[in-house]
């Protein structure tokens, strides 16, 4: 079978190394890909495989993996690495291992190198962060390191790619000549570990040399002194980082700065994005008006301007907010601060059954639940991990932003400042609800799943760094692109289907006494008559009994059902169902105008009042309306149990709280 031999010949080169040691940086250099590299241990939680860049002329697969401390995995992300390391389901055992080592933490990082070598692998050691080592006043002798390890080593500067050519050459050479010894999966015990550290400590002592020795007129005595203090100096963490930590982890300042940073992050999303949003809004209003002018009053024109343009426009308007959110999170992550955030909030989180390591997954949950749920893999303790996954859907993901922005703009017309504050309040509310839910579920979780491993929090705090704005921006735009790719088709398809359901079968409704009615009102009458006799209305009537108790009618019911494909769809489906395309005004404003006019059909009362609008917001805070989230939770928790419980509980809670909010407000006299 010729096929089989070619498959077997594809060589596998694996990047392995401790968290935050530069694996993904090297992966991106070698493969030309653009994966996320940030200053947080645990940035990568799934392995990725790629070919080498064509120009390198290396015929092999390159594998990037989540960081590991040792070959005995403790958390699911480490298990991903170790499992795929010893036997990748598709590519088998690695033929060559590129081991990244942070040169400024030699003895700790060589530990893993030694474990991998003892397992029989053929390796090349790649030293990163040599710049940090130099700033401590030390450099490393590659020759000594090579001879002590018995394997090749190379320096690579992750900031600019210096040393890449040498690495590529070494890979090629190694590729042709060397291969693995017999691979054995050792069970390392305590004694082995101490043994290995003894050895790596020795290596560190031998290969590092003080840069001071090169100063020509240093007298012998001084040299002597230097040698004595060498060990101490070597083991000193980055001085700048310690200075910053005295502030960021200060008893009082630390927590004040933490609260400031987190709240500034969220509020700035709204304040920074307003001008950009206006721009996009103008563009779509213009397009919609153009379409109307060009195509006249035909079915086709209605489809283009109502179905497609305002459908996609009403969602695209919110792209700036999403981009800004991703950008700020990226910058924060790259400075190295987020690991401190995790540390500062570990104690409070542990009170509700979570862990400091839940912090970053939760924070990214504000962008999108899907990567957030995957990021929860860095949590060792199973109960804490499940609980984190359980509450992530409650955090306000960016898909809810369009909905909230619209509803808040409806409540506070023409006041961006208070809108910003209210949006921040909604975020706070979603955080508080998730805390309460977490504390509550924490009590019941042992009954649902059987877990009893011990909780702990041990986390490496990376050195502070000036964030690489260019990379973060590129990553952000990539993310935004993915968001569009994911949401875009859904929105177009849904807008089409919904437009069809609201336009047919009564395409030309007959209105009596046409002569007495002014033109604009006539159009409005035709539109609403068409909708209330449409397929959508027939379907929606089924929802009427459920919607009435919360002060809404079938039209919102249909929009809410639509949101199960993606929450953003709510806005475009409202636009469609309320027929909001007034070419005179911008898009958001015309939806708001239509919301002001909408009446509940059976009673004639206004549909969007203060109470029902707040009720809707409450509904969106709790409801788990996202198929992709449900799918990823099933995958990450290994079964349907958790996602099914989540859908049932969150939908019930959402409905109940909406009911209580709407009717409570009405009792208090707020309509």
């Amino acid at each position: 079978m010729p096929d089989k031999t070619t498959i077997q010949k594809t060589k596998l080169i694996s990047l392995i190394g401790p968290p935050n040691s530069g694996k993904t940086t090297i992966f991106n250099y070698l493969s030309g890909q653009n994966y996320r590299t940030v200053n947080y241990p645990g940035a990568t939680v799934e392995y990725s495989v790629s070919d080498f860049l064509k120009s390198f002329n290396i015929n092999a697969k390159l594998l990037d993996s989540p960081g590991i401390i040792s070959l005995s995995p403790k958390s699911p992300d480490e298990k991903v690495t170790v499992d795929s390391f010893f036997n990748h389901p598709k590519f088998g055992v690695a033929d060559l291992v590129l081991l990244t080592v942070d040169a400024s933490q030699l003895s700790r990082h060589l530990f893993l190198v030694e474990q991998v070598i003892r397992s029989g692998y053929n390796v090349i050691v790649v030293l990163t962060m040599c710049d940090i080592l130099n700033s401590k006043g030390f450099d490393i002798s590659l020759d000594k390191l090579k001879s002590m390890l018995g394997f090749d080593a190379v320096k690579l500067d992750g900031r600019n790619g210096d040393g890449l050519d040498e690495l590529v050459n070494k890979i090629k050479l190694n590729h042709e000549k060397s291969e693995n010894k017999k691979i054995v999966k050792h069970e390392f015990n305590e004694k082995d570990l101490m043994d290995i550290f003894n050895k790596t400590g020795n290596i560190e002592q031998e290969v590092l040399f003080s840069l001071n020795e090169y100063v020509p007129d240093v007298c012998k005595a001084n040299l002597q002194l230097n040698v004595i203090s060498d060990a101490k100096l070597r083991n000193k963490p980055d001085a700048k980082t310690i200075r910053y930590d005295k502030v960021f982890l200060h008893k009082y300042w630390g927590i004040i700065i933490f609260i400031l940073i987190v709240s500034l992050t969220f509020t700035s999303i709204f304040w920074l994005s307003t001008p950009l949003m206006d721009l996009i809004d103008m563009l779509f209003t213009f397009l919609s008006a153009q379409a109307d002018d060009l195509l006249g009053k035909t079915i086709f024109a209605d489809f283009i301007s109502n179905g497609l343009i305002s459908g996609s426009g009403s969602v695209l308007v919110f792209l700036p907010q999403i981009i800004i959110l991703f950008f700020i999170l990226g910058i924060l992550e790259d400075t190295g601060y987020l690991a401190r955030g995790a540390m500062l909030i570990d104690k409070p989180l542990s009170k509700i059954g979570l862990n400091g390591r839940s912090f970053v997954p939760m924070l990214s949950g504000f962008a999108c639940a899907i990567p957030a749920i995957m990021a929860a893999r860095t949590i060792q303790n199973k109960k804490e991990r499940l609980l984190t996954i359980f509450i992530i859907p409650l955090l306000s993901c960016s898909a809810r932003l369009p909905v909230y922005s619209l509803l808040v703009a409806f409540l506070f017309p023409g006041s961006p400042f208070s809108s910003g504050l209210v949006l921040a309040a909604i975020y706070l509310f979603s955080i508080i609800s998730s805390v309460i839910v977490s504390g509550f579920v924490n009590r019941f979780l042992p009954k649902i799943v059987n877990v009893s491993d011990k909780t702990s929090f041990i986390m490496e705090l990376p050195a502070y760094r000036v964030p690489k704005f260019k990379f973060v921006l590129k990553n952000t735009l990539d993310n935004a692109g993915q968001y569009l790719k994911k949401a875009g088709p859904v929105i177009v398809i849904f807008s089409t289907v919904l437009w069809f359901l609201t336009y047919f079968p009564n395409t030309n409704p007959v209105i009596e006494n046409q002569e007495n009615i002014p033109q604009t009102e006539l159009e409005h009458k035709i539109n609403s008559e068409r909708i209330s006799t449409s397929y959508a209305s027939n379907l929606g009537k089924v929802l009427e009994p459920v919607m009435r108790p919360i002060g809404m009618d079938w039209r919102i019911g249909v929009s809410l059902i639509a949101t199960f494909t993606a929450r953003e769809v709510f806005v475009s489906s409202l636009a469609l169902i309320l027929k909001a395309t007034d070419s005179e005004e911008d898009l958001q404003q015309s939806i708001i105008n239509q919301m002001n006019q909408a009446k509940i059909e059976s009673t004639g009362n206004k549909m969007f009042t203060t109470s029902t609008t707040i009720g809707l917001i409450v509904f969106f805070v709790f409801a788990l309306q996202c198929i992709s989230t449900i799918a990823i939770i099933k995958k990450e928790t290994g079964g349907w149990k958790i996602p099914v419980i989540q859908v049932l509980v969150f939908t019930f809670v959402a409905y109940l709280f909406t009911f209580l909010t709407v009717n409570g407000l009405r009792l208090m006299g707020i309509q």
């Binding site: 401390i69 040792s70 005995s72 403790k74 400024s104 933490q105 003895s107 700790r108 530990f111 305590e190 570990l193 101490m194 550290f197 003894n198 070597r234 083991n235 000193k236 963490p237 980082t241 310690i242 930590d245 005295k246 982890l249 200060h250 008893k251 009082y252 630390g254 927590i255 690991a339 401190r340 995790a342 540390m343 500062l344 570990d346 104690k347 409070p348 542990s350 400091g356 491993d453 011990k454 702990s456 929090f457 041990i458 986390m459 490496e460 705090l461 050195a463």
Partner: protein
């Protein structure tokens, strides 16, 4: 005395690890081996977790985990 009892800015040498403690193996892997020097760098608001330095790295660690590191003050 254990690493959980360290005061702000205090340095100590690791004497041994309590092997009964579930975190001891992981701590060993992080480089907390007998004979190494550790220093308490910061104790934020709740005094837990604490920030230790070991082998040139900064590690945040809960006090309940630090308890398994037996130390000798310098």
């Amino acid at each position: 005395m254990t690493a959980a009892d360290l005061k702000f800015g205090q340095k100590a040498k690791i004497d041994s690890l309590d092997v009964e403690h579930p975190s001891s193996f992981r701590l060993l892997e992080y480089g907390f081996t007998p004979g190494e020097e550790i220093e308490l760098i910061n104790t934020p608001l709740f005094k837990d977790p604490i920030q230790l330095s070991i082998r040139g790295a900064l590690i945040a660690i809960r006090k309940s985990d630090a308890k398994c590191i037996n130390i000798k003050l310098n």
